[in-house]
Symmetry: C2
DNA sequence: ATGAAAGCGCTAACAA
DNA sequence: TTGTTAGCGCTTTCAT
């Protein structure tokens, strides 16, 4: 491993000068020395020791990316196209800006803080972590934290989210305009994005004078088998609706296949819509009408916000709450009544 | 940030003693001191500075995980369930063993070596990197390297793979037994796993006396749109076959939908099979008959092999070539002729 | 325009 | 049983 000292020796100068050249403090270094040092750096493929940089008080250039998950879904979490997709974008952006990405799937809070402080990360990006845990992370971390898709109460940390409310609202309105009145919103969660989506749905239903709105939502289990079990039990109930609005495309695709297996034709007998517009939406038949979000943009925004917080050394003057827009993508899974 | 020195001060001992206790070199430390130090460590939430550890010549406890990808597919790469799934398993295993995972998607070789040497990673795991690049990485890296799903020529590095040949062979035989003779193997690649799968297919076809075997393979473009374009152009050709064997479930699912859109019924008019047994296989209708691989096992094996190489300090006595078994999963996408 | 030296937190060899 | 000390590679302050 080649060190600054080695370069200095070769160039016949001191380590300080080499360090200065590397950091561009070249005001008082002769051009000849600069060139010589740069040449040697090139030739020797010098790579600075991050350990030493870190110890000397420089930034680690590490961004910790934490994906929260329940322990039992830990190994499946990354299979979901949303997580995969946003991670891909985040890594790309981080790399482009010269940062390293330390990746961790968290089940507990200690590990996260452990990671953050052991490596002196310059920033933290969280995905799928609850509001409370995010607040806790931020409390314990010196580095700025940006969360993705979190809904906060009074106290909030920088966050990049989606206009989930409008997503629910617009899609429900779309269905209502198509003549649907018996709409069932299916979701595994009563919090966060799914809650916001449901609130949007409710607003649209109210506007159209739909009654007994509380009957328009069905909570589902997270585990595949239990969910299918629920569907089987609920088949007769589903028949009483004209449209099923799943809170994500995967659930919608799964739902369409379930209905298909039960001999119920989509959209002729029952319309189905989803949320996300990921690969499942285009793969399934009928192709899924869904609420589209730009996941790559979300990843980009999150990294960008984090970088601004790092550069700025604080939150003043930085926009710390972003809500990306949604749009309805019409395909073939909804019938005009 | 709390340091060893601080703990030492509180405990009224020297930093060395604290360090010794931390590392379990407690043969010559009194129980009282041990307890006191441990208590203080607990209380203060001490987290060692990895920078300092690193500099002091200790391991970084970082494993670099490098996912290779063409630049243009960079942001989609993680969407594919295989990559997501194996990364999830790898992270879980690494975490469990107390390692940190530095994640990088690589387009060039320098970056990889950069990452490895800057952070003094203790090991490297590569996914989707070519044989040549893997050899290069291993040449340039002091740390052990384990690749996943790579086929090497003479010179090889530790690798965890799949019995792709048998996968192709068994599936082709399955189709042949079902009476199919006009089988088309569709794949984007003529190298690596896809080549091995194709060789397996060829063997089975030969055993059944199928002629003009070279006409039984169709190379496809990687980009979705170009691939669909190819399918459209080739529709009449496909009709002349009785079974389409796609080299991955995603392509198979996409193919089934394409055929569906063209009014060709699967499996009544044309049988379709895939490879991987991922979420697409169960989601699609007809449910896909496919070659199953245990991705989590693959991830586990890769981490395990790497750990053995690290602990062992070399390759002697470590099994460095693993081929996981495949098995055929029969669903509904193949018709008995 | 360049260099010497101290210090970052930790480890390990050696001393006491 | 515990402590002293040198050193890991880099940065930065202060001299020269």
């Amino acid at each position: 491993m080649i060190r600054i000292k080695d370069i200095a020796q070769r160039a016949g100068v001191s380590a300080t000068t080499v360090s200065n050249v590397i950091h561009g403090n070249t005001r008082k270094v002769s051009q000849a020395t600069i060139d010589k040092i740069n040449r040697i750096i090139e030739e020797t493929n010098y790579v600075p020791s991050m350990g030493a940089r870190l110890l000397a008080g420089n930034g680690s250039r590490i961004i910790g990316v934490i994906v929260g998950t329940e322990e039992r879904f830990r190994e499946e979490k990354l299979q979901d196209p949303f997580t995969g997709s946003i991670l891909g974008k985040i890594e790309t952006e981080l790399s482009r800006r010269g940062y390293y990405m330390m990746f961790h799937m968290s089940s507990g809070m200690e590990e996260n803080c452990q990671l953050a402080s052991a490596w002196n990360v310059e920033g933290l990006l969280t995905i799928g972590i609850s509001a409370e845990d995010n607040l806790e992370i931020r409390r314990l971390s010196r580095a700025p934290v940006v969360s993705i898709d979190v809904y906060y109460g009074k106290r909030a940390i920088p966050n990049v989210g989606l206009d989930d409310f409008s997503g629910g609202y617009e899609m429900a309105k779309y269905l209502l305009k198509k003549g649907h009145r018996r709409i069932l919103f299916l979701t595994p969660w009563d919090v966060g994005v799914d809650k916001a989506r449901w609130e949007g749905v409710q607003k649209a239903l109210r506007e159209y004078g739909v009654e007994r709105i509380e009957e328009c939502r069905q909570l589902m289990p997270c585990a595949h088998e239990e969910r299918m079990e629920l569907h089987r039990r609920n088949l007769e109930k589903y028949r009483r609706y004209t449209a099923l609005f799943f809170s994500s495309d995967y659930y919608a695709a799964e739902g369409i296949q379930f209905l298909h297996d039960e001999g119920i034709r989509v959209p002729e007998e029952l319309s189905v819509v989803g949320f996300d517009n990921n690969s499942y939406a285009t793969l399934i038949r009928p192709a899924l009408t869904t609420v589209a979000q730009d996941v790559r943009e979300k990843g980009w925004q999150a990294v960008d916000m984090l970088m601004k917080l790092i550069e700025n050394g604080g939150e003043e003057g930085v926009k710390t709450q972003t809500k990306l827009p949604i749009r309805i993508v019409e395909r073939e899974s909804v019938r005009q009544l």
